[in-house]
């Protein structure tokens, strides 16, 4: 199987969307599932959420944010290059039903996969409100796509350079309107924040947890999270969980356990000249 990159789209400075040839995965993929990529032989296994699939073309798309060694390296791949391995689809599909009114909140790179859910929710007959959260106006992407698959779109940025400043406006939104379900995909701190906002309103809130993963099939347990006081595995029990019962603080700590090693790896990559310098 050759996992050729058929198209590469630069979403923002360090945010990239790839469409790869993977017909068997495309045939089974559903919103909410993820894949694990090994860019080249000897590389690391990185989990990335599926943000689109096309059964006819036999392709799967994913978007990633360059944060460490492997995602930076992935950023240097071009159209026509092949990935060493793509495993998937992994994890449980999202629960897509007609709930009524659904609030979909996406943050930074996870906006891309969120829109797949917005679309699925809309196709299932829901009224969909999509919120795109970004750091500043330079990091906003897929606004048109969001409009096309939602009834209502709001934009928010951390610095207020575009749309609302921060996510506090969600409280007003929830006071004004009834929502039957909320779906949040984004950085862990953001998912925690949004879950805290929706809790008093009693809106069931689904979050996509992104613990560190290796195998992604339930064998290593590095992805364990605490939800409702129980130890669950992000890869096989999730990746979606009840945001009101998730121990986000533990997750944040667990995501950082290998930080010194990740920094070293990233630094070595940059000093060895693999990196950004070549691309920009």
């Amino acid at each position: 199987m050759t996992y050729e990159i058929l198209s590469k789209t630069q979403l923002a400075q360090k945010e990239t969307l790839f469409e790869v040839n993977a017909p068997e995965i495309a045939a089974k993929a559903q919103p909410g599932q993820f894949i694990i990529i090994i860019p080249r032989a000897g590389g690391e296994r990185v989990p990335l959420t599926i943000c689109d699939y096309d059964v006819e073309r036999g392709t799967v798309s994913f978007a990633f944010h360059e944060v460490g060694k492997t995602t930076k390296e992935l950023g240097t791949f071009e159209k026509g290059d092949c990935l060493y391995n793509v495993t998937g689809p992994l994890g449980n599909p999202s629960e897509i039903k007609n709930y009524g009114r659904v609030l979909c909140v996406g943050g930074s790179i996870m906006i891309a996969p969120l829109l797949l859910q917005s679309k699925a929710m809309k196709d299932a007959g829901n009224h969909v409100t999509t919120v795109l959260g970004c750091r500043s106006k330079d990091f906003l992407f897929m606004l048109e796509k969001a409009k096309a698959c939602s009834d209502e779109v709001h934009v928010a940025s951390d610095d207020g350079s575009i749309g609302e400043r921060g996510l506090d406006f969600l409280k007003e939104l929830l006071k004004r309107e009834r929502y039957d379900r909320c779906v949040v995909m984004g950085p862990v701190v953001m998912m925690k924040y949004v879950s805290d906002i929706t809790r008093p309103f009693g809106v069931p809130t689904v979050v996509t947890l992104t613990p560190i993963m290796i195998d992604g099939m339930g064998m290593c347990g590095v992805c364990r999270v605490t939800v409702g006081g129980k130890m669950l595995f992000g890869c096989v029990d999730g990746p979606e969980f009840d945001g009101h019962n998730t121990d986000f603080d533990e997750l944040i700590k667990r995501q950082r356990t290998m930080l010194p090693e990740e920094r070293l790896s990233s630094l070595l990559w940059e000093t060895s000249g693999g990196c950004d310098c070549e691309r920009q």
């Binding site: 199987m1 068997e24 995965i25 089974k28 599932q33 090994i38 000897g42 590389g43 690391e44 296994r45 060694k69 492997t70 060493y84 391995n85 793509v86 495993t87 998937g88 689809p89 992994l90 290796i214 195998d215 099939m217 339930g218 064998m219 290593c220 347990g221 590095v222 364990r224 605490t226 130890m231 096989v236 533990e250 700590k253 667990r254 950082r256 356990t257 290998m258 010194p260 090693e261 990740e262 070293l264 790896s265 070595l268």
Partner: protein
Amino acid sequence: MNGSEPDTKKAASTKRQQAVEMPKQGPEERVRNFREVALGYTEEMAREEASRCLQCKNPQCRKGCPVDVPIPNFIKCITEGNYAEGISVIKTKNALPAVCGRVCPQEEQCQKMCILGKKGNPISIGRLERYLADWEREHGVQVPEKASPTGKKVAVIGAGPAGLTVAADLVKLGHEVTLFEALHVAGGVLIYGIPEFRLPKDIVQKEVEYVQRLGVDLRLGNLIGRIHTIPELLESGYDAVFIGSGAGLPQWTGCPGENLGGIYSANEFLIRVNLMKAYDFPQKDTPIRVGKHVVVIGGGNVAMDCARISMRLGATVCLNYRRSRKELPARAEEIENAEEEGLICNFLNAPLEFYGDDKGWVKAMRCTEMELCEPDASGRQSCRIVPNTDFTMDADTVIVAIGQTPNPIIQRTTTGLQTDPRKGTIITDDEGRTNLKGVFAGGDVATGAATVISAMGAGRRAAQAIHTYLTNQEPKEGSS
């Protein structure tokens, strides 16, 4: 394999009784590298050891081997210097001799039954098997002839010892075999679990290549249950399915603090080090962090492997086991090796709680003393907490190696498949038939964590049952 000093004392008078020792890397040296510890026999050693065999008419040793290797026959070939024939004799029954010769618990199996074992000096059957397999690898591996195509297709799930055996056997019988493996490398526990210094990965790789050369179509990165379900495989043209998905789901102590950083399941630790080659970080991309004081909880082979890896990564390692030395389930040879390398064993204690620092990294653990009591229903020595004996010990890395249960994805995604709800195992008869038509299973997924050779034995029996199933099916199906 040469240039090593055999640490044997071969007095001429005892020559015929005493087993020929196998040279090993010395403990001070090997604890600083990941190279294989046991170095293998030289030709002279192999012939000397083989010459001790009595060539029994009714060889007891064979009864101890779960796959019925014709032991006296291959040993005879060694004494005659006829190595090519020797290896083909083994391969009639065992597709992975280089692996079994290294990791079979021979002292519990073939060697336990050897007639010379009664006097405490059984023939070193495993070492001889390894010798022939290694000889063959150096001299070029022959691929046997296949039966003519039957037109039947079989899907084998999991490329561990069970799946590899089923795939090899069925392809030789003329069936078309697709082997689906979820990871990006084939071999199962042989690749991701057992460390390099006990079983070099290029040997496993060669065994996998052999199975591929037989004509098996290996598909890596295919997690069955997600990419295809078992009913889908049967509908899409496979006439039978074999499930050999192993037992890789880690078990936990359930003590508070277990989700702290620095607490690994044995599998996470092993997967990082063996599969992802984290011992070579940052040359390889997957990291591992091991502190100064590693505590391994458990006492089986898996615990021993984790301990020996940790020592190689530079740590001081304690093994905390809740029963006493006598009950340690690990192989005697491995315990001895580990202690030579500096392992400290703490018996009769169990963890109660883990303490972390402000960054969420483990720094200490509270334990209690245990005592042995009456054996439980299964005859296993039980143990219980001794009240008010709590103590605290430093630990900046903890590895929980207290067992694995079957990987659950297939069980969860195959409706109607009969499983044991308590153990998570797939229920089969002796030949590996599940309750679903055309669906077979074997190895750790059916028995719970066991051994390489028992998984292969199960694979062998299942392959026969599948073959019978496929050949009987023919008349009914008519055209194909």
